[in-house]
Symmetry: C2
Subunit: 448 residues, 2 copies
């Protein structure tokens, strides 16, 4: 699609106009920005961190190429001197972040970035763009996983994600949050995620008889076929699958399973299971799909529908019940002095921060404290250095480690915070030192 290899120009114009003003005023001191989610979307009470890997790659490759500079020059907004400065600009800053896969709560900084203010400002847009969608989808995927009652889930969202990049990031974020695989072949290649596929209705309807389609498919995939049985009549489809499974058995092959994609899934799955049981084929798995989200998965689990696994698509891949989060990137320090914003409903807290987490003796989460970065507070510290002098640290790269981090944190998060509807809010307090700094900073600004 659009040429997006060099993403540096993928920013808001005001980042560049502000940069020119900073440049003209020789305001080039170090600034620190903090990224956090201000409030919970409906029915959420936690977030699964994701997107750091892409943010760090972007920062390492940050550079305006010649064609970008040429385009900016044509806008007649920028001085030649400033454009020359931009053309040589690289990202040289420092990043602290909470590792991908960890579970966090509202107001907790998932990333803090310190750099000369022009650099720190221009990168805002893309940093939010990536952390926002990936954290939102990882959180949605975690909800689906919890709802499925232990059944494996596969990402089927690519066709209705918001564009190509979202398709890739949905596959990655849902895998990070415990999904078993994806239908997205490119995501399989780029991220090493297991890829999964069955067949489409069009395959069946391109043959004159459904059973001919099934026979053709298992000839090509004698050991890993899943047949889609709802193109015309689901129960007749199940009987056709039984016939094909018996033919396969005679050849020493076996049918993996069937997929249901429409209708009353609970009732159909029970009837299909009975057809396979009656045919003495209880090992044939039943795979469910068709516009499912965590609320549907919870209903299917509650009804004990005999599905072995599910494909989860559109509603997960768009986070359909909450398709955005109030994620902010706020200036908290300039030239070593704390700063803050007081806009109605959009306030921020000054100073570089750390999140301290306390657990009980079983390892379950008990309470977090947001404090200043150099404070000594009991508990595990969540923010780690992820980039130094514009180079990322090695621990930030591994998707499988992030997946393990999620699994461990999700197990340690008590149930009341994981409810699909009206979850409790996890206790997060502010340290006395941070509260004092906020008060002192507000007093300083009161003179305006």
């Amino acid at each position: 699609m659009s040429k997006q290899n060099n993403l540096t120009l993928l920013t808001d114009l005001y980042q560049l106009t502000m940069a020119q003003s900073y440049f003209a005023e020789k305001r080039l001191a170090e600034a620190t920005f903090s990224v956090f989610v201000r409030s919970y979307p409906p029915n959420r009470a936690y977030f699964v961190c994701a997107g750091l890997d892409d943010v760090l790659s972007y920062l390492e490759n940050f550079a305006f190429d010649a064609s970008a500079i040429e385009y900016l020059a044509a806008q007649k907004l920028f001085s030649e001197e400033f454009l020359r400065y931009l053309s040589e600009l690289r990202f040289t800053g420092e990043v602290w972040a909470i590792p991908e896969g960890r579970i966090i709560f509202r107001e907790e900084p998932l990333l803090e970035l310190s750099a000369p203010i022009i650099q720190a400002q221009i990168v805002e847009t893309l940093i939010i763009n990536q952390l926002h969608v990936q954290t939102m989808i990882a959180t949605k995927a975690a909800r689906c996983l919890r709802a499925s009652g232990g059944r494996p889930l596969v990402d089927f969202a690519l066709r209705r994600t918001h564009g190509t990049d979202a398709g890739m990031k949905v596959a990655r974020a849902s895998y990070l949050a415990g999904f078993a695989g994806t239908s997205n072949v490119m995501a399989g290649k780029v991220y090493g995620i297991p890829i999964v596929g069955t067949m489409a209705h069009s395959f069946v309807s391109s043959f004159e008889h459904e059973i001919d389609a099934f026979r053709a498919y298992v000839r090509s995939f004698p050991h890993n076929a899943i047949l889609l049985i709802d193109t015309y009549d689901t129960l007749q489809g199940a009987r056709n699958a039984v016939q094909v499974a018996k033919e396969m058995a005679q050849r020493g092959e076996s049918l993996i399973g069937v997929r249901l994609d429409s209708g009353d899934l609970v009732e159909l799955a029970r009837q299909v299971q009975k057809i396979f049981d009656d045919a003495n084929l209880p090992g044939v798995k039943i795979f469910g799909s068709g516009g499912l989200d965590e609320y549907d998965l919870a209903e299917l689990a509650a009804a004990d529908a005999p599905f072995d696994s599910y494909g989860v698509g559109t509603r997960m891949g768009t986070s359909a019940d909450a398709p955005w989060m109030d994620m902010a990137y706020k200036l908290i320090e300039y030239d070593h002095a704390p700063v803050l914003k007081l806009s109605t409903g959009k306030g921020s807290s000054p100073g570089r921060k750390q999140v301290f987490r306390r657990r009980d003796e079983s390892g379950n989460f008990v309470q977090d404290t947001i404090g200043l970065r150099d404070e000594q507070i009991a508990g595990e510290t969540l923010l780690r250095q992820a980039m130094h002098n514009g180079r990322r640290t090695a621990w930030t790269r591994s998707l499988s480690e992030s997946r393990n981090r999620f699994a461990a944190d999700f197990a340690a998060l008590p149930e009341s915070f994981k409810l699909l509807r009206n979850p409790s809010h996890y206790p997060v307090e502010t340290s006395q030192n941070l509260a004092d700094l906020r008060e002192r900073t507000i007093s300083k600004y009161a003179v305006h």
Copy 2:
């Protein structure tokens, strides 16, 4: 981010497993697929076509590169012979489509594609991926435009769109649907869309005094500055802007405007307008932003809030109240025989189609008829040939023509179909020939 220049692998695995089966069975005849939206999302009763340009570019560049073939080989699912076939596969088909910018209704085919079935199947995923997000966002943007009461709108969504590709497509689709510009600099470069920018809260808070920030900014932009006045106290911010505007006037410069991004926008805008009026600066424009969508814009217009224009971000760029549509890509013909699908709630109609639109003597839309492509029915035909033998036709390229098409269609769509809530449903009928074909095709399948 992910390497997405060659998008061919960005497909669902089942497209490739079905392709291998078609290949093994020597089922290589021509198939025709139809893309349509099955039903209206909440409060919608029309769609604005968008995304065709990207679909055609993708089809022209369709090719599995060596590293894609290598990855597929490693999956141990595909025969060597099939992979050799894939490595040489190009898209050689034909596309008919409704031009971008045109307004259409549910069930109407916005694109029909005819090609050897393997080609036609593999490209499904990306075709939906692009038409879905762009049509959804163009439709959302059209709703915002109608709600704004004629005030110009600018796309501010990039930071919270679902990834980078969505950020580009939101800028493009909203411009197509009448927006005046975007904050997205790369979209400005790639699509030639006007770019717009003001300043951020962080710029103001990086200075010790708000007025120093304003003075610094107008030094860099003496002829096109818009000052953000709500970082601390909006009315004091307005008074600081007055002071700066007066200083500018003495230098022969003029302040373009101010931006409000939080609080009670109606009340604040009135008070800010009064401050500028009292200071004898009535020409300073007031720009509104802050989580606005079409419902907010309609309220602001109803209250006659004195805003000159608005920035519209997150809720538009994610289509927040309806973040997905039920867009389908259905097989309607295989080897010159009509086919269809009967799955519960997901049926389709057989045969290549055309949409015929009748207007009244003022040019307003009256009724559409979905018929067969070669039928002679009164009215304008909406589907045009967009690709022949894998090469696109010239008319498909121009964004400005698409923007003009939208403006003309939107003006010709009667008001009752454009209501923001509970709009009427536009009359779309099926031709007798199409109904007959569907009946005959169903009878043929009844024997299963």
